[in-house]
């Protein structure tokens, strides 16, 4: 039995009894930070000599969707389950809709499928743009060591120019408009039908969407240009991008199409280990052969691991770990190429720059995200020019019920899985949801610990710690980036309290 397992056993026993031990370690707590539905925190513990003993990213909320969806007709589920997250405004909706296709054993006609994909592509542009500009770019454009008062979207706009900033906001809103035309509501959409889509697109609407999509492609190009100018051409930043303090060595999982290319709406899940070797591919219910989720008492969020690579072995990185992550970086590591021409050029540059595949440098997430804005915008344009998109045949009516359905989608934050069992009338009896941020739970913990270990030495908490810890969890985009960040400050409030062993506050640091 490994030492980790031994410790785990012991700890589990203690937690069950809720024993509050006399702590010998110093605790640093970062609270609040935010995540998917709002709230999370970080606790860092120092050992006797003042070095980081361990660090924890804790998710503090729980809702219970997997239970209360039971009893609902499956076709009512997409618009209901969408409220898991209001930032990822389309993904739970789409994923449960795909599961509902399976439940009724029906596939959408080409027009229905294309409308869904157009809808999702528009969401990707809107969401990735908000995340990148509000969270990712300020660290680089304004600078990781800049004052927190400036290291935010406003500072970013000042740095790139007000005109550029306004243009970005305005173009992003076009993606939201496409979303509303196709989905009904601008958030928590409703147009899903098992076997298709309830909305038909008129020629007038199509022409409008085509025009807007052209602008979205421009937004993608502009975004990559900003990344190039600011990050790639700056050796200081490239040191961070390829630095060990932001390196987390884990496996990856993402969707690929039949030619092993990038795909968001539909595909096969491909899983690689931390060395980059193929572990396997799966669709539908086969996810259960690959994924297991461990429950730990200090987080409401479970900890998935790749069970093909062995049973739960704690949260650890390295070539033999069975922890894996999902999202933009995972996609760049798993696919052979992009499926649109302009994004492909940038994909090649991405890999030429890093040299090694898989890329374990988590700041690469931001670059990957920028490439995906362009990829999704190109997809919008392609679909808006597809003659079939205005077809009237958007729905194949279900005729029978299979009683079970699994939906899998490459959500913006990574692979999302919804699994439902129903009765003969399509009424949900059982449900299982594995959301993107859940897959990344262990890697986020690793990222925070790695950065903390790097920046806290011998009891000295470096002044730069706060932002550098933020830079470690931001790439994963824990749905932190509710674009409300775009309104005022644009950075996450982080407070670190350093406690003495007796619990008294020794020192307090804030970034606001």
């Amino acid at each position: 039995m490994s030492k980790v397992t031994e410790l785990l056993k012991k700890a589990v026993g203690m937690c069950r009894g809720q024993i509050k031990g006399e702590s010998k370690v110093k605790k640093i707590e970062i609270n609040p930070m935010t995540r998917l539905e709002g709230h999370g925190k970080i606790a860092i513990f120092l050992d006797e000599s003042g070095n980081v003993d361990d660090a924890f990213f804790q998710t503090v909320e729980f809702r219970g969707y997997e239970k209360f969806l039971q009893g609902m007709p499956i076709e009512e589920v997409p618009r209901t389950v969408s409220t898991v997250c209001g930032v990822c405004r389309a993904v739970h909706f789409l994923c449960s809709m795909k599961a509902s296709d399976n439940v009724y054993g029906v596939t959408p006609p080409p027009t229905g499928r294309k409308l869904r994909e157009l809808f999702y592509s528009a969401h990707t542009v809107e969401d990735h743009t908000a995340i990148l500009y509000a969270l990712g770019f300020p660290d680089f454009v304004v600078g990781p060591d800049a004052s927190p008062a400036e290291r935010n979207l406003i500072g970013l706009i000042n740095a790139v120019g007000v005109e550029t900033g306004r243009m970005v906001l305005q173009k992003r809103s076009l993606a939201v408009k496409i979303f509303e035309i196709l989905g009904g509501k601008p958030n928590h959409p409703v147009a899903a039908l098992p076997g298709g889509w309830s909305k038909r697109l008129s020629e007038e609407e199509r022409a409008q969407i085509e025009k807007w999509s052209e602008e979205l492609v421009e937004l993608g190009k502009l975004t990559l240009q900003v990344f190039e100018d600011v990050v790639l051409k700056n050796p200081k930043y490239m040191e961070l991008v390829t630095g060990d303090m932001y390196k987390v060595e884990v496996g990856y999982m993402a969707s690929v199409d039949e030619q092993n290319r990038f795909t968001l709406y539909d595909g096969t899940q491909k899983v690689i280990d931390a060395k980059g070797d193929l572990v396997g591919t799966f669709t539908g219910k086969e996810y259960l052969d690959f994924i297991s989720e461990r429950v730990l008492p200090w987080s409401y969020l479970k900890f998935p691991y790749n069970k093909k690579l062995g049973s739960w072995d704690g949260i650890k990185s390295g070539p033999d770990t069975n922890i894996y992550c999902v999202g933009p970086l995972a996609r760049m590591n798993v696919v052979d190429s992009m499926s649109t021409p302009l994004a492909q050029e940038h994909f090649e540059k991405f890999h030429n720059t890093f040299g090694l595949k898989p890329v374990h440098y988590i700041l690469g997430y931001h670059w990957a995200r920028a490439i995906e804005i362009l990829a999704a915008a190109e997809k919008c344009l392609e679909l808006s020019r597809d003659p079939e998109i205005t077809g009237s045949d958007t729905w194949n009516k279900p005729t029978s019920c299979t009683g079970e359905g699994v939906g899998i989608i490459e959500a913006n934050r990574g692979t999302l899985i919804h699994h439902y069992i129903t009765d003969d009338n399509g009424i949900v009896q059982n449900a299982n949801l594995i959301v993107s941020t859940t897959h990344n739970n262990a890697p986020i913990n690793l990222a925070v610990k790695t950065a903390a270990k790097h920046f806290i030495k011998d009891g000295n908490v470096s002044e730069g710690l706060l932002n550098h810890v933020e830079m470690a969890f931001r790439p994963y985009d824990l749905c932190l980036a509710c674009a409300t960040h775009t309104v005022t400050a644009g950075q996450l409030p982080v407070e670190v309290n350093i406690y003495k062993s007796d619990g008294e506050i020794l020192r307090q640091m804030k970034n606001f």
Partner: protein, 326 residues
């Protein structure tokens, strides 16, 4: 121009969709910010933290929005503090004003919710059957805490006094723009009111039979949305697709009907209705032709509580009777 309004926004137990709706106002939001001085926006915006909110003078904030319901002890605490610090408090969106979708959790016990998520789900690995704990000592030395899950979901006004209510999951950004306009011009109704156009979804809906000089007729057949494709121009309810438009506030501009999908009530009850779900049932059943149709309705939607109270279970009388509060 008068002094800027000191504005606060708290995300309690919501999904942040309401906050995104504010962001979706785009340029109009930038205009609005000309009148608003954001003094608190947590945890999603960086200005001020809970601790600093606590340090503010009572009544320091002129106008505060809360989105999300009360789901744990942290929500309880922050909402109480916000109330104390705010002159005017608005329960913003379906969760805050009615409980929202996550309030459907109250149809089950906490044990049922936890055992499904942490033990029974197909992919869960939990050999020792543990649940997340409000307090735990991990590996014998790390003291870690989590907010505790409350007995039931509460609306904001079940915990503190609320001055205004806004429906919608989330409220439509066009409506928010009108709202903000009304607020900055000081054009507000009596405290305790809903901020609403006062119209039902049917009043806004282009399919309303009254707009086409047609009478509403008794409904002879009931359909789920998988059963067929409704005529895109005719009233869904008249065609047998159960639609809550008659009893729901239409500040959304009838969004769902625009894509041929029935209303499920996220706007909240039309003025004068105390219990949304009960009103839904009575309105729908009284539109049905006969007992046989009523039976068909019950058979097709046998999750009546989850169907009719989808966005408003916490505010309903039923839940308050069945699930004891704190």
């Amino acid at each position: 121009m008068a002094e800027k309004i000191k504005f606060g926004f708290l995300l309690a137990g919501g999904c942040a969709g309401c906050e995104m709706a504010l962001v979706d106002m785009s340029e109009k939001l930038l205009d609005a910010l000309g009148h608003l001085d954001v003094v608190f926006w947590a945890p999603t915006v960086a200005d001020v933290k809970y601790k600093d909110l606590e340090a503010m003078e009572d009544g320091y904030i002129d106008l505060a929005f809360v989105d999300g319901m009360i789901r744990n002890t942290e929500n309880e605490h922050t909402v109480k503090v916000l109330r104390q610090k705010s002159k005017t408090l608005v329960a913003f969106g379906a969760c805050a004003s009615l409980g929202g979708i996550a309030a459907l959790g109250d149809c089950h016990s906490q044990e049922e919710l936890f055992s499904q998520a942490y033990k029974d789900t197909f992919s869960t690995d939990n050999p020792d059957g543990i649940y997340p704990q409000p307090e735990c000592t991990w590996e014998g030395k790390y003291d870690l805490t989590l907010p505790a899950f409350t007995n039931r979901v509460s609306t904001i006004d079940q915990l503190v006094e609320v001055d205004y209510f806004v429906g919608g999951c989330p409220p439509h950004h066009d409506f928010i723009a009108q709202l903000v306009q009304a607020i900055v011009s000081g054009n507000l109704p009596a405290k305790g009111s809903w901020l609403t156009s006062g119209k039902a979804v049917c009043d806004i809906c282009k399919r309303n039979p009254a707009d086409h000089d047609q009478k509403r007729l008794p409904i002879g057949e009931v359909f789920r949305t998988v059963d067929g494709r409704p005529d895109e121009d005719k009233c869904l309810l008249q065609q047998g697709y159960i639609c809550f438009g008659p009893v729901t506030q239409g500040d959304c501009g009838a969004s769902c009907l625009n894509v041929n999908i029935p209303c499920r009530g996220c706007g909240g009850p039309i003025p004068g209705v105390r219990d949304y779900g009960a009103r839904c049932v009575s309105t729908i059943t009284s539109s049905l032709k006969d007992d046989e149709t009523a039976e068909e309705f019950v058979k097709k939607f046998n999750d009546m509580a989850k169907f009719c109270y989808r966005y408003s279970y916490s505010a309903g009388i039923l839940n308050q009777k069945l699930t004891p509060g704190k």
